[in-house]
Subunit: 477 residues, 2 copies
């Protein structure tokens, strides 16, 4: 085994530094002159484009259409729904001057767009014939965070926000569940992240929602990450924004609303779940580039010609492939393809060819595989990509399971959180006071209520009173 | 001929009102509660997505990669390049409060991102090996306009901004020209808009650019629209932002820079060039939906089954097709497909089928074409889409040519501008005073200098001194 990438701090030595080293060395993002905001560099943006491509297709298949609301929200409009404004007021940025003049009314940069969609529904939803409306937008939002970290938490981030409005609560609740399932499947099938899903507690739900469903990831170090939420609003917002429609029975009623979103934070999750001391490791299904071909041997024609031939064949079979025939040394190219997380590297050396060999290198395991040069390279590559995808998921699941614990009392909780945090299963009475008390241990919070999971105790992990919910707890980013 | 769409003012009666009626009735955009900002509705956004898809592919083919700079620019950073800040200062919006606190330094919402890219280059361009960098970003920008009009001019708009940096002026100038050609071809081949291209005068160029190339469209009413510009910056910005690199010869030098952009304004151009009193008319190559199938006859199985069969075949041949089998009346469906600009409508009536007929209706000419039901529908539709694309371009070109004039003196200019404005060709001495004087006639401005076109006079149209440039003039949106 070669030595690890020297530019990257070891994951086991300093996880936080390792993370930012990977972000920087894989050219995913860089800090900017704007405090708390990042530059998403081409490698990072290509990942986001790939995520958008897959999710957007899924959303559209389910009948959603894309649109675009304004970036700015007048203070007056934001204030109509009290819970929402209370939730977001401390973390918005205000535009107070425009065109060299002080504005009469402050405008906030959207932290989320429920208010704007409600304002639009107010104009456009009048009859049952106007329902449902299934909207989505891809955009930037801003939240004035104090502590920031590339992708995981930054003042500006990119996301999609779905907003739908329905005639019945049943339809709206089904939508809320359906979109959570889309996020869950995307995590498991594409990102190879074995997330869990459940319902947020009252304390942790989205300001203004009736309830929030959430998808929760576990990072390699045992810290949890909320990654994708889906909210059911009932009629809360439609009442606050006076969105009324005429039913089939010619009565007036308020429709039911949902929203759901997922962000560039997923890039952070990909790093913290899969990557290693050599840089980024990407599941093949989300990798913008899946294969790199490296011809070796200066002035040797055969390696380059074979690389060109293989590239054509692989690309024709929808495997994204590029050739690195730059004048860097082979060792440099190998390291670069590793730090960038290219799932498969095919080394085509003059001497290997003479011995009828090609070298395949898996990024995830760094295993070198010698194959005969006349094998069906497309078929072999496809198979290897599938294997990598599957094994990355299994490894992440094994790690998640290793870091999944049960706590039966506060001492258990403390012990776990002080030694090795993770997903902590424990029963809860439903009282916010117990959540507050548990939070005192290293800021541990309820991640989600598992509604269909059976009880592991009869009593609340904190107060010992009768337990109501099976909850997963953890320390969060 | 049926009567025109009653919700839409006639184009010949009130062009401005006609325009907003089309925007509204085709559900492209709506006004929002945020002054000067619009909601881009699904039909409008689908057009933008189609434009993005085609252009993005083109950009990437030429080696560009996408990235994302922050939304906000610190005042201090913006001020480094004097010309740019002077050009944009009157029209930016300032964030002065964030997270309930007054900020120490104002942040402006990006009106364009040259400063942010320069700040990034300053960190990342050190050696000739780092050059060229070919970046692009798709994002929103904000300019505090006083007079706004959906798509044509609004405070927030969506665009792409390409930013590249090169070792030599030759490379950078070639890039400037190349990207202008991409815009020009996109207009002619995809949007069916017979634009012209040329160089902006000193007075009209982008603040801070050495020169600006521009693509100019002519609207149906003879008003011109700047639609796509490409700037060559030379070393102006790299010097202002101290972007230095080591050349191959191990010397220090400043690299050369370009930027180029095109916006959602193109949607406005599509309307004003092609649409009519029945609503939107779209060239097939940019239409998000190219064909609508309308089965007619309640409880009749055959029309719907045939529609489903044809949809499958058309979609399999990459023709975007949908069926309208809602419970609206056929007349309503026809009008709706017209106002939305679906290029081809196929009416499948029970009685027509009995007579072995299908009805094709072209949106552009509203011509009804009876065809035998057993023709090769895919082949026929493909051919008809091509014909529509071609004829729409030819009609727009004919209109452009009708509204293209020559002026040999100021009296000509005045007469043309007072009767029917358009593209006005006239010679110019190069003196800004003459531009100012011509502007006094109805705000007429130079659109672009045609560098390769031959002179039509020896003297300047305004002052009568020796002419230097063949310029196209016009009234602008």
């Amino acid at each position: 085994m070669e030595k690890e990438n020297k530019a990257i701090t070891s994951r086991d030595v300093d996880f936080a530094k390792w993370y930012t080293d990977v972000v920087k060395n894989a050219h995913l993002a860089d800090y900017s002159s704007v405090k708390g905001c990042i530059v998403i560099e081409p490698n990072g943006y290509a990942l986001w484009e790939k995520m958008q491509e897959i999710l957007d297709k899924e959303f559209k298949k389910l009948g959603h259409v894309n649109c675009q609301m304004p970036l700015l929200i007048p203070e007056n409009l934001l204030k109509k729904e009290t819970e929402l404004v209370n939730g977001f007021a401390p973390e918005v940025a205000w535009v107070t001057e425009g065109g060299n003049k002080k504005l009469e009314e402050r405008l906030c940069i959207r932290p989320t767009s429920e208010t704007l969609f409600c304002d639009y529904y107010h104009q456009h939803v009048k009859s049952h014939r106007d329902l449902p409306k299934l909207y989505n937008q891809w955009c930037n939002v801003l939240r004035w965070e104090k502590e920031t970290r590339p992708f995981l938490r930054s003042r500006e981030f990119l996301w999609q926000e779905g907003h739908t409005i329905h005639a019945t609560s049943e339809e709206a609740e089904a939508e809320t569940k359906q979109m959570m399932d889309v996020y869950y499947r995307f995590h498991h099938d594409i990102l190879a992240i074995p997330s869990i899903q459940g319902k947020k507690t009252e304390k942790e739900k989205f300001s203004g929602a009736e309830y929030t469903l959430t998808n929760e990831d576990l990072m390699y170090n045992g810290v949890t990450l909320q990654m994708g939420t889906s909210h059911y609003f009932g009629q809360k917002f439609t009442k606050a924004y006076d969105v009324k429609y005429t039913t089939k029975e010619n009565k007036e009623d308020y429709p039911y609303q949902t929203s759901w979103g997922i962000t560039t934070r997923m890039i952070g999750a990909l790093i913290m779940v899969h990557s290693d001391d050599y840089g980024l490791v990407l599941p093949p299904k989300i990798a913008p580039k899946q294969v790199v071909l490296i011809p070796i041997g200066k002035d040797a024609r055969e390696p380059l010609e074979l690389a060109q031939k293989l590239q054509k064949e692989l690309v024709a079979n929808n495997i994204t492939t590029y050739i690195d025939d730059s004048d860097k040394s082979p060792g440099y190219k190998f390291a670069e393809s590793e730090v960038n997380g290219i799932p498969i590297r095919i080394e085509i050396g003059k001497r290997d060819l003479e011995q009828n060999k090609l070298i395949f290198v898996r990024r995830d395991t760094r295993e070198k595989i010698e194959v005969a040069k006349d094998i069906d390279v497309v078929k072999y590559t496809k198979g290897l990509l599938d294997t990598i995808q599957k094994e990355m998921y299994e490894r992440a699941k094994k790690r998640r399971d290793q870091l999944t614990f049960e706590a039966h009392n506060l001492e258990d909780m403390e012990r776990i959180l002080n030694t090795q945090p993770g997903f902590i299963h424990a029963m809860w009475c439903g009282d916010e006071a117990c959540e507050e008390k548990i939070k005192e241990i290293k800021g541990c919070k309820s991640r989600c209520i598992l509604e269909d999971e059976k009880a592991i105790d009869e009593k609340c992990v904190c107060c010992g009173e009768k337990a109501k919910h099976h909850v997963v707890w953890g320390i969060q980013y």
